[in-house]
Amino acid sequence: MSFIQIKNITKNYTNRRRTKRSPGDASKAGELITVLDNINLEFEEGEMVCILGPSGCGKSTLLRIIAGFDTDFDGEVIIDGDKVGSASSEHIFVFQQNGLLPWMSVWDNVELGLRNMKDSEMKNEQIQEYIDLVELNGFEHNLPYQLSGGMQRRAELARALAVTPDILYLDEPFTGLDYFTHLKVREEVVNIHEYIGKTMIMVTHFIEDALVMADRIIILSDRPSCVKMTRKLDFSRPRNMNKNKDLGDLRDEIFLMLGVSYVA
């Protein structure tokens, strides 16, 4: 049995807007819109999976359902044999942005998951360890707004990793970062995955990220979305799309699948 099982997940929501999303959109206010249509997936322990799909297809919704934030859906999510009914501190979610509590310093944010530890000496050691891991030593007492976007993201990663979660959910974790910082934080996530070997499920719309990072790629179709393709990537890391022809071909194939025919 797989570590995470997603069985027949269907998610509908009621359209509350009066305007149409696009000229061809027939949906009216009050109408039921299907976001996820009978999704079945399995994830292995320690696997790094990237979920790709066109924007608005419901990939974030799917991740939030798996994480237990959204309980209004049909179907089942089973993690390690237990049905998921709510968020859990063993499965930490890294948000698209603003996931750090802005009124707490980096240190206090990282402490959130460890706040109930009895031994304060051990707790402080652990907090420092994870702050060092993401190379934020020296910034322990800074507030989030005093950090750059990349540092904020790293601080959030430290907070997530400090609780040694079984699963890490990453919802477009590189959004809003400049290109260079994006690559740096991405590298860090890959290293962390190699280092701790925990299950990671990441939603992204950057195809390159998925190709560089993932053990497996899942592609969702447009709304109502279903699983369009899942593909194992047996390439060693670090990966380079320009040097590895198979990887480059796969990229072109995925771009085509998502409706982009020319890739520079």
């Binding site: 930490i92 979610f93 603003n98 009124w103 707004y145």
Partner: protein
Amino acid sequence: MYKASLLNEKFAILNKSLWLPIISVVLVIALWGAISQLGGLGKHVFPGPATVLLAFNELFNNGELIKHSVASLYRVTVGFYLAIFLGIPLGIVLGLNRTLSDMVDPVVQFLRPISPLAWIPLAMLWFGIGDKPAIFLIFLSSFFSLTMATTVAVKSINPIYFQVAANFNFNRAELLTKIIIPAITPDVITALRLTVAVAWLVVVAAEMIAVQSGLGYLILDSRNALRMDYVMVGMIVIGWIGLSLDLIMQKFSRVKWTAH
């Protein structure tokens, strides 16, 4: 060239944001003096700055001014604190509970635009004479706005913070102290700043009825004695205290976790 730059430097020492207000205050006092001298209304009807300064000295030295200021500040403080301790918790509850807020919100919305002064007859009937009706009016002037502002602030907390709380298994107390209260603090402080200004406006009006002390009473009593110089002293002190209250609130309103 050299002289000009030296002159500029001299002016730079006197910070622009400091001397511009001073100039305007001096101008206003000069204008006031000129009108009272040349307006033809007479010293008793339109006293000039010198007369008012003498009256201020008199009222300050015989302790009347301090007594009345303290009385007004006492009422504002009590009424305002009552509004804080009832309005903010109620606002938090309403912000978190959709059903309750749908029920209570229309009532608050309806009562809020009724001027606290319209409550004067009822306040006197219910609370009699003395501090109580005035405090009640101050309370009313702040309570509804504070409740509403808090409700809105809670409702507009970024849902991500609640998800973080759920993800790290916060209990109710932690949710309140680690998420809700810090998240609404900037908005609530802004609301406090606005309401304390309104409360200060209302106390003067409230003191014109039913009490024997306070700056409002000082003004009304001086009018009855036809001492317009005392009336003006009262007005100026009200302005000073109002300004000070605002400056104090402004100091508090610099919350450290936002960039601006």
